[in-house]
Amino acid sequence: MNVASVYPKVKAIVADVLVVDEEEVGLKSQLIGDLGAESIDFLDLVFQLEREFDIKIPRGQLEKNARGSLSEAEFEQGGVVTEQGMAALKEYFSEVPETHFKTNLKVNEIPTLFTVETFCKLVVNASQQERSDSAETVA
């Protein structure tokens, strides 16, 4: 399973959730900027992806993945992403153009970075995590 293999289903779900034509949805489409997503849409999208791919996506997983090994204090100060935090975001959201990472990005603005590819990666990671957890249980 990889981004390319999950993309068709993710694209269809994104189009359905955001009530847009599938033709308008691309791998690089920004969910908020290009497709008009609202906060309820992200909840709906995660819910639909969990059902479709039979995975669990804990709330806030994207931000947690992006933060990586950084502590909260290293990642953000007073609701604004630090320099270290920005570097971590750029590394995790490698599919997002550099120009989208604005200076003094607030933590609550991180969803503006999300693209369809971001959610494809999320599905792939969550699926791998499920398989790994199952293997550990069996062992």
Binding site: G36, E38, S39, F47, R59
Partner: protein
């Protein structure tokens, strides 16, 4: 006038399942006129009752720190009509619950017959104190949580009673002659009787009231274009509430015709306030001669 509909909770399995009942009586005000001139209890309010039942389980499971609000509903199948004197038996199952959201489904029956089935409902959580006081919510649950295996359905109405009807409709409808492009406007007034309970500290238009208005709008459009047909609502689906609608807002709704067949018609509704999307849904109607 209360906007709390569950009369009694019959059983509660915390975080998992809840059953309850509601008597449909002359003190209820949410009715629609049917073709046979009888009054039928609004399906959206039956859905509201089921949602409130699920919400009681959620609130108790989270120790009344959070309250779910309307978010997304995959599908509401509408079954037989509900009339004065009926007893709604309500059953809700919680599929997933955490402090950010709840996923649930449920069914409402009258004398064992399905009147409403709700699937894939997703409600985001808000902190309780933004909507109402914790003590008030706890007290309201205490009033109705009286579990029992033995309960009596309301034995219909022996006396001819005419319940008061609270009209729920858009204030202004434009372009009804064009079935493909009707627009309607709702002026949201603070005087509406559902605001004190929904919610005490943050009055917002209930999703189910908006859905009732949309269904009423669809019936008006269909009566205009198909006056000889018997129209029945069979399903509401792909319902999503993305923003609160407040007293003083002007809500505009665009109606689009998605499917038109001989016996089946599907409308899509997109509602906005100040050009910002607040609610979308689809409504499926059957047309019979």
């Amino acid at each position: 006038m209360s906007f709390l509909f569950v009369d009694r909770i019959l059983s509660l399995d915390l975080g998992k399942k809840i059953t309850g009942l509601k008597y449909v009586t002359a003190t209820d005000v949410y009715w629609q006129q049917t073709r046979s001139q009888q009054k039928a209890f609004l399906p959206s309010i039956i859905g509201e009752t089921l949602g409130q039942l699920a919400a009681w389980n959620v609130m108790k499971a989270l120790d009344f720190r959070y309250r779910p609000v309307a978010g997304v509903v995959g599908s509401v199948i509408v079954g037989q009509e509900v009339h004065l004197g009926d007893t709604l038996y309500l059953s809700a199952h919680i599929e997933k619950l955490d402090e950010s959201s709840v996923v649930y489904c449920g069914e409402v029956t009258v004398n064992g017959q399905m009147v409403l089935r709700l699937q894939h409902a997703l409600g985001p959580m808000l902190k309780m104190e933004t909507l109402c006081s914790r003590s008030q919510a706890v007290a309201q649950l205490d009033e109705i949580y009286r579990p029992t295996d033995i309960w009596e359905p309301c034995p219909g109405t022996a006396v001819s009673l005419m319940p008061t009807v609270l009209p729920i409709a858009f204030n202004k409808i434009e372009n009804i002659e064009n079935i493909e492009a009707v627009v309607a406007h709702l002026f949201v007034s603070r005087t509406a009787p559902y605001f004190p309970d929904h919610f005490p500290l943050k009055p917002v238009l209930p999703l189910t009231i908006l859905l009732s208005a949309k269904v009423d709008l669809a019936f008006r459009i269909l009566r205009h274009h198909f006056p000889q047909k018997i129209v029945k609502l069979s399903e509401l689906r792909k319902i999503k509430m993305s923003e609160f609608v407040l007293p003083g807002d002007v809500l505009s709704t665009q109606v689009s015709l998605k499917i038109l067949e001989e016996k089946n018609i599907v409308f899509t509704f997109r509602s906005t306030v100040a050009n910002k999307r607040v609610c979308v849904c689809e409504a499926v109607f059957s047309l019979e001669c």
